[in-house]
């Protein structure tokens, strides 16, 4: 059979496309890819599944969509994997985030948290040493110390780009690490609380001291470029970035990158790291359920990891999905492996903030309205980063629009 798979255009997924011949050889099924940029992909698959379009047999979705769609009954439950697939090998945090009511609805292709990547050489030159679990205050000082505008070196590069999955995700985990939360237990927006103001102010000030020009439009990719070109002292972002910045083919600083846990504000127990997985799911109602399951089993299996390792080396295997990977001696040699695992383990989607919240998810709240709200909120924040409004104005607008949207959706 011929499977149509919607997927995102990141490196791991592209790599998988190159290896599908292996799947076809094994099962006789062919695969057609619809590769889209992340935002386009989300919009596309959401429309399709909500309208029951049936354009795709497999969709690449994330931790945000899976529980919501699973609850709606839009996904085929993935509860009958073969024994050799070893479902229990999937990292519990991932499995939890991709399940609804204990049933797995999407199999993680890879998972990630976020962590600090920093330039050991610059750190040394600044006369500082990175603790394994730094605080925001340290990060800010270190960033200021590493900044050298003349040499085009920014102490720290962070996401400021509007969009819930971009700057929105980052400011949310930052706020978490300052003790803030999106909603109280009655679904009231919390942007009027001091923690948010503290977090946003801190972030904005630090970035204007030590961040790159125009960081208000920087997302993952822009920062990756900057870091690879040696223009950043530190970068806090997805753990998967580690393999890119340490890859000497692309990165000019490959041999001087260190890793540390994402920071927290002094005295706050939550750290600024998230949890995310790109996972494969089958929309309910597809005619090709069995073949689709076969594919998912192939793509998220241990064998696939080995296949990649054999072709591209261990540093390039999809990380963050399986416990066994981190027990593999070959993989342990990869410099960022342990820190990735530690970061993932430090994230707890069902208990993401200091104060209690009614939602699941660390850098998002797994409710259908969140993407829309968070995108607009992050746009307000980006306007702060670009110097177009103050922190107070942005928070006030965020508060208003969030409450408004929640009301529209019937939460309040």
């Amino acid at each position: 059979e011929n499977l149509v798979i919607a997927t995102v255009n990141n490196g791991d997924m592209i790599r998988m496309q190159g290896l599908t011949q292996d799947f076809t050889d094994k099962t006789g099924h062919t695969v057609e890819w619809v590769t889209l940029e992340e935002n386009v992909l989300r919009q596309r698959v959401t429309t399709d599944i909500a309208a029951k379009g049936g354009s795709f047999d497999i969709m690449t979705i994330g931790m945000y969509e899976t529980p919501i769609w699973g609850a709606n009954g839009w996904l085929v439950p993935l509860d009958d994997f073969s024994a050799e697939y070893d479902v229990d090998d999937i990292l519990p945090a991932m499995r939890g985030g991709l399940s609804h009511d204990g049933t797995l609805y999407a199999a993680p292709f890879y998972g990630e948290s976020s962590m600090i990547m920093y330039r050991t050489d610059l750190m040394e030159a600044a006369g500082l040493e990175m603790p394994t679990a730094p605080t925001w205050q340290f990060i800010r000082e270190a960033a200021a110390a590493m900044t050298d505008r003349d040499a085009d070196i920014n102490g720290i590069c962070l996401r400021g780009k509007a969009g819930w999955g971009e700057g929105g995700a980052f400011i949310t985990v930052t706020a978490n690490s300052f003790g803030a939360r999106w909603f109280d237990e009655e679904w009231n927006a919390q942007f009027d609380q001091p923690e948010w103001k503290e977090a946003l102010t801190f972030f904005t000030e630090m970035m204007s001291e030590s961040g790159p020009t125009g960081y208000a439009t920087n997302g993952f990719n822009e920062n990756l470029n900057l870091f690879q070109q040696g223009k950043c002292g530190m970068w806090i972002d997805a753990t998967v970035a580690a393999s890119f910045v340490t890859n000497p083919n692309d990165s000019t600083v490959a041999d001087s990158v260190g890793f540390a846990l994402a920071p927290n504000a002094e005295g706050v127990e939550k750290r600024a790291n998230w949890l995310w997985a790109w996972a494969l799911a089958i929309p309910a109602g597809t005619q090709k359920e069995d073949a689709a399951k076969e594919f998912i089993e192939w793509a998220t299996s241990k064998e696939y990891i080995e296949l990649v390792a054999a072709n591209e080396g261990w540093a390039n295997v999809p990380p963050g999905a399986r416990t066994s990977l981190y027990e593999n001696p070959n993989y342990k040699e990869v410099p960022f492996a342990q820190m990735t695992l530690d970061s993932i383990l430090a994230a707890d989607p069902s208990n993401p903030t200091v104060k209690p919240v009614p939602y699941v998810g660390i850098q998002f709240a797994a409710i259908p309205e969140f993407a829309g709200i968070a995108t607009e909120v992050s746009q307000e924040f980006s306007a702060v980063y670009a110097g177009q409004q103050t922190v107070e104005e942005a928070l006030a607008k965020a508060q208003a629009l969030t409450n408004d949207a929640m009301e529209a959706a019937g939460y309040r």
Partner: protein
């Protein structure tokens, strides 16, 4: 030339186009209208019943509404002004005798062939990127601080990108119009003692009136719907959220089809206000 026979034939031959367009307009319009009076949330199970004018009220009372109208009009107005003014100047220049006129014309037309997505990507990454963009290099070369175009000057940047795409169209139409100007009129004005500037103001510009209205009409239709450029560059941040983009956010990002549909109805109303305004001018000019 109109016999009974040809008139009925004409009606028959109009029919396919009219029926198709009527369907294309009415079917989605009726569905949009229906949705707009409903709580329609695909992610919460779709149609959740009638809610009267709630969506309409909510859409306008949202803090994003008026800024989006302003953003829409700014983009439409800004691009129109730039393309028409530069288009006129370029058309005049291209109408002069020169060597390699055909090639220059090709160069000037080229942006029109570029997909909006591609043009937005190219501008955003290769020119306006504050670190690696060509502008940043240029600014640094002259010792200036690179500008973060898409955040610090978001609206002008988008207007610029869109203008770049539409300038060829304006230039082409205006060029054809200028070429149709009877050169004897210009010579008459010259004999009458009008220097070049006055010849432009008194003869060329009035002659272009009709062409300018056409440019405005056609471009407005397309500019009201500008989407890809914003989606790719700012994602609606920094005050570049147009009405179209706001609807997009409501429908696709927030998955609130009811609210978005109400927005769609507002957009239709806005478009029609603009249209009526335009038709007033253009309609008159089209008669001649």
């Amino acid at each position: 030339m109109a016999t009974q026979h040809s008139r009925s034939a004409a009606r028959l031959m109009m029919a396919p186009a009219v029926v198709l367009l009527l369907g294309w307009m009415l079917v989605p319009l009726i569905m949009t209208l229906t949705f707009s009076f409903k709580q329609y949330l695909p992610l919460r199970g779709g149609d959740l019943g009638w809610v009267g004018f709630d969506n309409y009220v909510r859409f306008v009372s949202s803090s994003a509404f008026w800024p989006s109208v302003v953003a829409t009009l700014t983009i439409v107005g800004g691009v129109l002004i730039i393309t028409v003014v530069l288009g006129i100047l370029l058309a005049i220049l291209l109408n002069q005798p020169m060597w390699g006129q055909g090639i220059v014309r090709i160069l000037v037309i080229a942006p029109f062939f570029v997909m909006p997505t591609v043009s937005a990507l190219v501008w955003k990454n290769m020119f306006m990127d504050p670190v690696n963009g060509l502008f940043a290099h240029l600014w640094k070369f002259f010792g200036a601080e690179p500008v973060a175009w898409l955040s610090e000057a978001s609206m002008p940047s988008i207007v610029m990108i869109v203008s770049w795409q539409w300038l060829p169209f304006a230039t082409l139409i205006l060029l054809t119009a200028i070429q149709s100007l009877d050169s004897e009129q210009l010579e008459a004005a010259e004999m009458d003692g009008a220097p070049p500037i006055k010849r432009f103001g008194y003869i060329i510009l009035p002659h272009l009136g009709r062409a300018i209205t056409i440019v405005i009409l056609i471009q407005t239709i397309f500019l009201l719907a500008v989407f890809a450029e914003i989606f790719v560059t700012t994602g609606g941040a920094f005050g570049t959220r147009t009405l179209t983009y706001l609807i997009y956010q409501r429908v696709l990002e927030s998955q609130n089809v009811g609210l978005g549909s109400a927005g769609g109805v507002y957009a239709i109303i806005l478009a029609n206000i603009v249209a009526i305004f335009l038709m007033r001018i253009v309609g008159k000019n089209l008669d001649a």
